[in-house]
């Protein structure tokens, strides 16, 4: 397996990697820099100032939008990660009627255009509400419908990422756990889940990003008072986008970086002690 590579190729690959990172992160860097812009316009430097951070904290419309985005993204990420992981396990592990069909259908929300999905959701909710109204309460679109829609498209993304991870999994580790009298639940909790955790976390992060980003579906299924941040930004067409958006994006960026950092710390914790990984190590040795 191990071949000696030319140092030239190494260098080339390293340069490429750095360029890719620069391509990813430079726009973010610019965004953060311009959040300290003193001027009114997003793209014109008007001197250093923190005025937009102050004004964003006093703008109830922006704060409401951020709050709505957080609620939707938080709930939809947790729910879609759980359901998506379960779906991936079911398709990968069990033979049941309609499995092939389900496997194919799983890709549907990823393939169909956003706007088709959005209209489907809107019509579905409108009709469902009509039916519900027949038996009683009048409900309307709002954060609940946005969250449900986000769960609906995020399940597919999570399931696909987790399935890729499951595909690489060495099944003999699970068999070994079962041989050592671990119950199905114990095997899942102590062996399978830790092994697919990178996939689950990757899927969850993807779901979080997609949920925070979504405009089209959200715009269609939102109701009174449930504007999310991206919809708010697009709704600024009559007034123009101000550096408040840079400021709030920078705050969210710092928040999400801390979140990821925290979760990394959290993951490292138990591994160093006697929890999950040692179990796998023991299993590997037993094999």
């Amino acid at each position: 397996m191990i071949k000696t590579r030319s140092p030239k190729l190494d260098k080339l690959l390293a340069t490429n990697a750095w360029l890719v990172y620069a391509f990813f992160y430079f726009p973010i860097f610019v965004l953060v820099v311009f959040s300290f812009n003193g001027g009114r316009r997003v793209g014109i430097w008007g001197g250093f100032s923190t005025r937009w951070y102050g004004s964003v904290l006093q703008n109830p419309e922006v704060l409401d939008a951020v709050k709505n985005s957080m609620i939707v993204a938080g709930i939809s990420t947790v729910v879609s990660t759980a359901l998506g992981t379960a779906a991936a396990l079911a398709i990968d592990r069990y033979r049941f009627r309609g499995r092939k069909g389900l496997d194919g259908l799983l890709y549907l929300p990823i393939i169909i255009p956003d706007v088709t999905m959005a209209v489907m959701m809107l019509l579905f909710f409108a009709r469902a509400f009509d039916l519900i109204q027949l038996i009683g309460p009048r409900i309307q679109l709002g954060l609940g419908t946005i969250t449900m829609s986000h769960v609906a498209f995020n399940i597919s993304f999570v399931a696909i990422v987790v399935r890729a991870r499951l595909g690489q999994l060495d099944r003999s580790l699970e068999e070994a756990a079962r041989d050592l009298y671990a119950s199905a639940w114990q095997t899942f909790k102590r062996v399978t889940l830790p092994l697919i955790m990178p996939g689950v976390l990757g899927g969850a992060l993807l779901a979080l990003t997609l949920s925070l980003d979504d405009v089209v579906v959200t715009a269609f299924v939102s109701g009174p008072g449930s504007t999310t941040l991206p919809v708010y930004v697009f709704a600024l067409v009559r007034r123009g986008v101000s550096p408040e958006i840079n400021a709030i994006s920078s705050i969210m960026l710092i928040a999400s970086i801390s979140l990821v950092g925290l979760s990394l710390l959290f993951q490292r914790g138990p591994r160093n002690s006697e929890e999950e990984l040692p179990v796998i190590d023991t299993l590997e040795k037993a094999l």
Binding site: R40, R41, L123, F129, G223, P224, T227, A235
Partner: protein
């Protein structure tokens, strides 16, 4: 823009699936200043001074739920589906026409609008709402182009600067246009001597074909099509001549050290004038509160507060007394009579709408 087309398709789907239920919502029983519950106000973001909303809440003792949308089409889809309650919406001119045709708007009881007389008579009975039954103008503006005179020097206030090779070729690669099919097509039509209204009335597809040929030829000179950053791109020097909406340019010019270098022009051949309007959708649950808000904004001082915040023109004649001098004297916001003469509202285009969209998309290559 593709988004526009996609929205149209989406709307067709929604319209096909939802037969509009004939709601019994009416404003006939509302009296001036009467409210009937908290108001759900659906509008563009930051399109009203939040102090105005606070004052309204304090005066009438009800709450206002302000929700934002990013396009007329999105608002229409929501009203058509009827799964969310909005009492007051702000459709643009052509959208009032569309919504009226689909029976989505409630006839306004003008007896309950004590301040209706404050409205500028030239904003009553507009072509998209011939009897002003369904809409009351909110704010208005124009579409033209702006020039960096420090670079361009002297120029003719004409669409030649985009479309006539003899004039435009020297600016190739330094021009930007809105990424908006109706806006660009109307500009080209006016350059060719047509008006959109006439073309729609005659269902003149030849004129649209002519426009497509012109735009295809023009495409090579256009550096970018952009409906969001056109003002910034101009003052950043990315382009020297930009097609765009009056208000957007005004915001950009206000920020630079050399605002005198930039000038917004309404071309002599004319172009587009737009009005956003207040209307009550048939899905409203609190039509009297909505009517109270319309009346509140028709008040002279409140109307002025709205314009002093938005920097868009006010249809409220009585408000001019309270509007800032700098706004009233800015021809970018209040154009001269002469300039106004050739402007038209984008009419309801019907089937021609798709052809306009296609022509624009194809011309961009």
């Amino acid at each position: 823009m593709k988004r526009w087309l996609v929205m149209l398709m989406a709307l067709a789907l929604v319209a096909a699936a939802c037969g509009t239920d004939e709601g019994a919502v009416t404003t006939d029983d509302c009296e001036a200043g009467q409210t009937d519950g908290n108001l759900s106000f659906y509008n563009w973001a930051e399109y009203i001074d939040s102090d105005l909303i606070d004052d309204f809440e304090a005066e009438y003792g009800i709450e206002v739920e302000y929700t934002e949308y990013d396009s007329n089409e999105e608002m229409l889809a929501q009203v058509e589906a009827g799964a969310a309650v909005y009492d007051l919406v702000v459709p643009s001119d052509y959208m009032v026409d569309t919504m009226t045709a689909e029976n989505l708007l409630v006839k306004l009881n003008k007896d309950a609008l004590a301040n209706y007389a404050n409205l500028d008579p030239s904003f009553v009975n507009l072509p998209f709402d011939p009897d002003s039954d369904f809409s009351v103008p909110y704010q208005w503006g124009t579409t033209g182009f702006a020039v960096n005179t420090a670079v361009v020097g002297d120029f003719e206030p004409s669409w030649d600067i985009f479309f006539d090779p003899a004039v435009a070729d020297q600016y190739a690669g330094r021009l930007s246009m809105l990424d908006d099919a109706p806006e660009v097509v109307v500009a080209a039509l006016h350059y060719l001597g047509y008006t959109m209204e006439g073309v729609v009335a005659d269902n003149n597809t030849d004129a649209i074909a002519e426009v497509e040929a012109l735009l295809t030829e023009t495409n090579a000179r256009i550096a970018k099509y952009d409906s969001v950053n056109y003002g910034d791109d101009l003052v950043n020097g990315e382009v020297d001549i930009a097609h765009g909406w009056s208000g957007g340019f005004f915001f950009s010019f206000a920020e630079v050290d050399n605002p005198d270098d930039y000038v917004y022009i309404i071309p002599k051949e004319g172009g587009v004038r737009w009005v956003d309007n207040m209307s009550i959708p048939i899905t409203a649950e609190h039509p009297c509160s909505a009517l109270a808000m319309i009346d509140w904004l028709l008040d002279a001082e409140n109307g002025a507060t709205l314009t002093n915040w938005n920097y868009y023109g006010s249809p409220n004649l009585a408000a001019e007394e309270f509007i800032l001098e700098e706004i009233l004297e800015d021809p970018a916001i209040y154009p001269t009579e002469e300039a106004l003469k050739n402007l038209e509202f984008i009419p309801q285009m019907g089937d021609l709408g798709l052809e306009v969209q296609d022509a624009f998309s194809r011309s961009k290559g």
